[in-house]
Amino acid sequence: MNKNYIKFTKVLTLIAMFGLTLNYFAVKAGNFEVQGNENHCEGADVISIDPDSDDLGTYTTDDGGFIDSVCVKSGPEHFVFTEGQSSDECYSVDGLGTDSVTVTRLEDSNQCQAISHLDVLFTDPEVSPTPEVSPTPEVSPTPEVSPTPEVSPTPEVSPTPEVSPTPEVSPTPEVTPTPTPNSCDPEQFCSTSCGRVAVDLPNGSCGIKHCDPTASCVDPNPTATPTPEDRPIGGTSGQVLGATTDSYAATGVAEDIAFSLIGLTGTGLSSLGILMRRNEKK
């Protein structure tokens, strides 16, 4: 009798643990949808690179294009540097306007966090259509689940692990050269990638400051690729557009099943408890 009782208790404990485990996974599953794209500086005409170290990042264009600006990601912040504003108290960018840039962290402090990521915006050289672009093997029509595969868009370069290809980034992009800012035209900067904000600098010129992911951008360049946030869903002309999303619909039923099981387990345990109490009284 006593042995049976212990065995019974063990089984019940297991059931309870199972219920709690289900609960844990269910809550976890409920959270995963919330995750979004953290890289606000990423855009179709922007190359994302990892720095050489926490303090130094370098990049040289493969095709002789000119680097217009660099977006430095450090911690949760983004900072954009152009020829008009190539340094601040934390970072300095050398080589803007040329085909090679060097980003240096000037100070190691809480305010000036390590360089975690660089986005380089560049203007392509005048390129005539280059028909001999053979699709590189990495760009398969059925991409893998892995995050954006990284392939070089320029034909003469062997696949270097540096540039992310989206279907819109054709090897002959029609992005018009982004001139050095000389007037504060927010749209001009918003047309590039990451919600940049044109600001008046103390010296009277115009520059670009922090990437502001909440800035709403109007794209003046019809050939520029829309950012993921602005991308319409669905069809082409004549359709209801304007809807945006960064995720698919939640089409799973695992949560429903898990929480139903949790409820059933709860009911079972309660009933069992009541029955045991009755038996004890008897």
Partner: protein, 188 residues
């Protein structure tokens, strides 16, 4: 003697502990389902608002059929403020997407149950997809792409130049992935 006493006490508390744990689990489940049904009613409100102001366009898909796998009606749903409404009993068609027969991406999605779109995960790639629209016309598509992606990889939802049918449902452990089928109109 002392040990026996402790055992007796702990034994006598077990039924109460079980009842308490059971009530706690039932409470968690109850909260979940309450929120779930509230979300559903909000979805219905959203849809009603959308219907009032939406442009009326013909040729909404009303039924999807893939022999042996899928045979389900389709409800029109929407994407608003980054929130997808979804039918609980049928497949869902995103009203903001293209209509069958016109250029663009036609997006149909649904729960991964056997009665809705769960079986698309068994498709091999040579099946035909038959979509019927509200004018009774039938559109046949041939599968071109089968892929499983993370929910944040939304490139398959992007507009397309050519007519493309995109079907998707959840897959993977605890529905962490999206299983996507893309198909093109069958050439006659």
């Amino acid at each position: 003697m002392k040990r026996n006493k402790i055992n007796l006490i702990s034994k006598s508390k077990i039924p109460e502990a079980l009842v308490a744990l059971g009530i706690f689990l039932m409470f968690i489940s109850g909260v979940y389902w309450t929120l779930r049904f509230r979300a559903l009613s909000l979805d219905n409100e959203l849809l009603a608002q959308y219907e009032q102001q939406a442009e009326v366009r013909p040729n909404r898909p009303t039924h999807i059929f893939i022999e042996w796998f899928i045979d389900t009606p389709i409800e029109t749903q929407i994407l608003q403020d980054n929130h997808w409404t979804i039918s609980e009993k049928e497949a869902s068609y995103l009203d903001q997407s293209a209509r069958p027969g016109e250029a663009g991406n036609i997006i149909i999605y649904g729960h991964n149950t056997r009665k809705i779109l769960g079986n698309i995960r068994a498709l091999q790639g040579n099946e035909e997809i038959l979509v019927t629209t509200d004018d009774g016309e039938e559109h046949v598509y041939t599968i071109e792409t089968i892929v499983e992606v993370d929910p944040s990889q939304t490139k398959y939802l992007e507009p397309t130049e050519e007519e493309t049918l995109t079907l998707y449902t959840c897959s993977g452990f605890f529905d962490k992935q999206r299983f996507i089928i893309q198909a093109k109109p069958q050439k006659l």
